[in-house]
């Protein structure tokens, strides 16, 4: 057996791959479910926080900034572990899936709040004044004039941050979530062969590479021109 054959036999073992393909595929489904939940709830919560912050209520803003800085400082894995192993002590026992979802959604909420907020504050004061001078209220101005411009500015940084955080779904394997990496590593221990890891890597590529390419396109498309 040549070195090359041994290499292929070890890392791209056809028999092992065929056997564990269904597991990897079901892992992909879980990863997609997690990712969609994280993106939707994280971005929505981030936007709501940024809008609340625009109301400029001092104590509320301190609270928002505190929460945001907290979730931006803690490593996502630490948050996952805290929720999964810590909350049961408080009487709630979230599953590994829910723990991972909540943790990464909080992280995305925190980062996206900062991005949304930066977008809102970057809109010139004159836009507010023009709108208010025609009788639009604060809220109407925010929704109709400021936010559409701000969102456009935030799309590129938001896309990048969202991808980075969504990849963190792999951390769920630590709390027994059967997402791609989780399926791949249990397949490795059951088959005594690392081929499933290669499949896992391929699965991540299949999921994220198109998103990364799309993000590149979005970034050029939404480069701001006045």
């Amino acid at each position: 057996m040549s070195t090359w054959d041994r290499f292929v036999e070890t890392f791209f073992n056809a028999k092992v791959m065929v056997k564990y393909l269904p597991d990897i595929l079901s892992g992909m489904v879980v990863t997609i479910e997690l990712a969609v939940l994280i993106v939707l709830s994280g971005l929505l919560a981030g936007l709501v926080l940024a809008l609340l912050r625009a109301l400029a209520i001092r104590p509320l803003n301190w609270l928002i900034i505190f929460v945001v800085d907290l979730f931006r400082s803690l490593p996502p894995l630490v948050i996952i572990v805290l929720i999964y192993f810590g909350l049961p002590a408080a009487g709630v026992s979230p599953s590994g899936f829910v723990s991972t979802w909540l943790s990464l959604a909080f992280v995305l909420m925190a980062f996206s709040e900062e991005i949304f907020w930066a977008g809102i504050t970057s809109i010139p004061k004159g836009q507010w004044e023009a709108s208010r001078s025609t009788g639009l209220s604060f809220g109407q101005t925010l929704i109709n004039v400021v936010l559409p411009q701000a969102l456009r500015l935030t799309i590129p940084p938001l896309t990048n941050r969202t991808i980075a955080i969504t990849k963190g779904t792999a951390l769920g394997t630590v709390v027994a979530v059967t997402e791609i990496l989780g399926q791949a590593s249990s397949a490795v221990s059951n088959s005594y062969n690392p081929s499933p890891l290669m499949m896992g890597a391929a699965a991540y590529l299949v999921l994220f590479l198109p998103v990364v390419v799309a993000a590149r396109w979005v970034e050029t498309k939404f480069a701001w021109k006045r």
């Binding site: 639009l136 109407q140 109709n144 411009q149 021109k225």
Partner: protein, 246 residues
């Protein structure tokens, strides 16, 4: 002189320690065009912005078209529809078309349907000579065209008073004329206007009254000829001499 449509009394405005308006009285009659001149930092913009409460006066009273603008019970958003404002930097909404800019407040504040708003918006754009640019975004318009859209945005709401804060200062010289022409038309139609500007030629032949502001006070006012040819105050004379040398 008919009953004043704008009545501001004893307006003071402080920004922290800075005393920017030091007791300004301003009365403007219906259909009158009042022209405001004065050195940079004298408080001209602040005065205009106090009239529609974009800036909150520290004290004093402002009544526009019978509405007490400083009364907390006044629906300020409703009142502001009656006071159009045009800014030096146009401040058009870059994400909307010219028509979108003009119809936003018609739909959201005046409660018009989209069809009604579009019709009124087009009529307003027609008045500033830009009906054929309704579908253009601000980025596709020249500065002069942008400012005319901004004027259309204000007049579409049928205001009782129009405030202009240096409407031509950001324009290339060759574009100034088109904006002044629109303002002249507006004046001819009987619009009450308060104009802060350095366009002395326009003041001479369109203004009923010229006010000279300095250091937060109205130093002197009168018909354009009197202020420009025979100012009584030394500060006015110095200022007029300075801008005429340019």
């Amino acid at each position: 002189m008919s009953k004043p449509i704008v009545e501001a009394r004893e307006i003071h405005k402080h920004f922290g320690h800075l005393h920017v308006l030091k007791g300004v009285d301003l009365e403007v009659a219906e259909r009158e065009l009042v022209f405001v001149i004065g050195p940079s930092g004298s408080g001209k913009s602040t005065l205009l912005r106090c009239l529609n409460r974009l800036e909150e006066p520290s004290s004093g009273s402002v009544v526009v078209d019978g509405i007490d603008m400083l009364d907390p019970r006044t629906d300020i958003n409703h009142a502001r529809q009656r006071i159009g404002m045009v800014f030096q930097s146009f401040n058009l909404y870059p994400h909307m078309t010219a028509l979108g800019n003009v119809t936003l407040a018609l739909r959201k504040v005046a409660g018009k349907s989209r069809a009604e708003a579009d019709a009124l918006g087009l009529a307003a754009l027609q008045r500033v000579g830009l009906a054929d640019r309704a579908g253009h975004t601000p980025g596709q318009l020249s500065g002069g065209q942008q400012q005319r859209v901004a004027i259309a945005r204000a007049i579409a709401l049928e205001p009782r008073v129009m405030l202009f804060d240096e409407p031509t200062s950001a324009l290339d010289p060759e574009l100034v004329g088109s904006v002044l022409e629109v303002m002249r038309d507006l004046r001819q139609s009987g619009m009450t206007m308060i104009v802060v500007s350095h366009e002395m030629g326009f003041a001479r032949n369109a203004a009923d009254r010229v006010m000279f502001m300095d250091d937060g006070l109205i130093v002197e006012q009168g018909p354009p000829a009197a202020i420009f040819e025979n100012p009584t105050q030394e500060r006015t004379r110095a200022f007029i001499g300075q801008i005429q040398r340019h």
